[in-house]
């Protein structure tokens, strides 16, 4: 059975899971594109990673990944237009934490991003945020939304599942 098939089976077998619900706990928030909200997002992320069962070290890197994704959504996705919303959704089950960050921008082509590890880019002051997210999360996907906008979904699996 593949890892994804196993996770799908696990989700179906969650004890105490309400019928028709894929995740045990979900939390969602939406806010205007102001960088000042980053600290609030950070505090909520810390609480949720602890609730999910991650240790301090894993929690730190997950929260950093959320900060980077939200900062990208505010700055690059929504161009700091406070009238445009950023959404953050946390979903927890017994084996993993799934985080989705969405914005109302046009998105980007990940393959077009310069490699921050290329020797010619080492001294560039920007371009490391997406790299950090990929480094510290287990699975990361970017996609355009059918209704417009863009979102990143990040998954971190609890250690006992690996």
């Amino acid at each position: 059975m593949s890892d994804s098939e196993q996770r799908e089976t696990d989700r179906q077998e969650l004890p105490g899971k309400p019928a028709g619900k894929e995740f045990q706990k979900e939390f969602e928030m939406s806010f205007g594109s102001n960088i000042e909200f980053l600290d609030l997002v950070q505090e909520i992320s810390e609480s949720i990673t602890r609730m999910a069962g991650f240790d301090d070290e894993a929690s730190h890197w997950i929260c950093l990944s959320v900060r980077e994704s939200v900062a990208n959504a505010i700055q690059h996705g929504n161009q700091q237009d406070e009238g445009k919303k950023v959404g953050v959704r946390f979903r927890i089950d017994r084996r993993r934490l799934l985080i989705t960050v969405s914005d109302q921008g046009c998105g980007f082509d990940e393959s077009s991003l310069p490699d921050p590890l290329d020797s010619g880019n080492l001294l560039k002051p920007s371009g490391r945020g997406v790299f950090f997210v990929h480094t510290f999360m287990d699975d990361v996907t970017y996609h355009n939304l059918p209704q417009g906008g863009f979102e990143v979904t990040m998954e971190k699996r609890l250690k006992h599942t690996t």
Binding site: I35, L38, H60, L64, A71, L122, K124, F132
Partner: protein
């Protein structure tokens, strides 16, 4: 976030407390470094022992400061990296760029 500066044998040591992240914190680093260089203090040692969080903008600010100081004929080095800051510099290959130290005396002597 706060930055205290002290001079040891011609080297300006910046004791940084807090975090180096997007927003006011990165701006404070930038303005402080540029102010020191402008006043002629170009041998700079950043003590990061009490920096608990660095994000990609903070890493970018360290890189930008490093380049600015070097362009002005000086040197910016790092002291007392935390495990997490060291990990970020390692995965970004920036440990190959920055001179880093665990001992302040050795760090100061390296500017001679």
């Amino acid at each position: 976030m706060s930055i205290d500066t002290r001079n040891v044998h011609g080297v300006t040591i910046l004791d940084i407390q807090g975090r180096i992240t997007i927003g006011e914190e990165s701006a404070l680093i930038r303005n402080t470094i540029r102010g020191l260089v402008k006043s002629g203090q170009k041998n700079l040692l950043m003590n990061l022992a009490d920096v608990r969080t660095v994000d990609s903008t903070g890493i970018g600010e360290l890189v930008s400061s490093y380049s600015h100081v070097a362009d002005q004929g000086g040197a910016l080095k790092l002291l007392h990296l935390t495990k997490r800051t060291r990990e970020l510099l390692a995965i970004t290959k920036l440990l190959t760029v920055f001179d880093t130290f665990e001992d302040e005396s050795q760090a100061v002597a390296s500017f001679a």
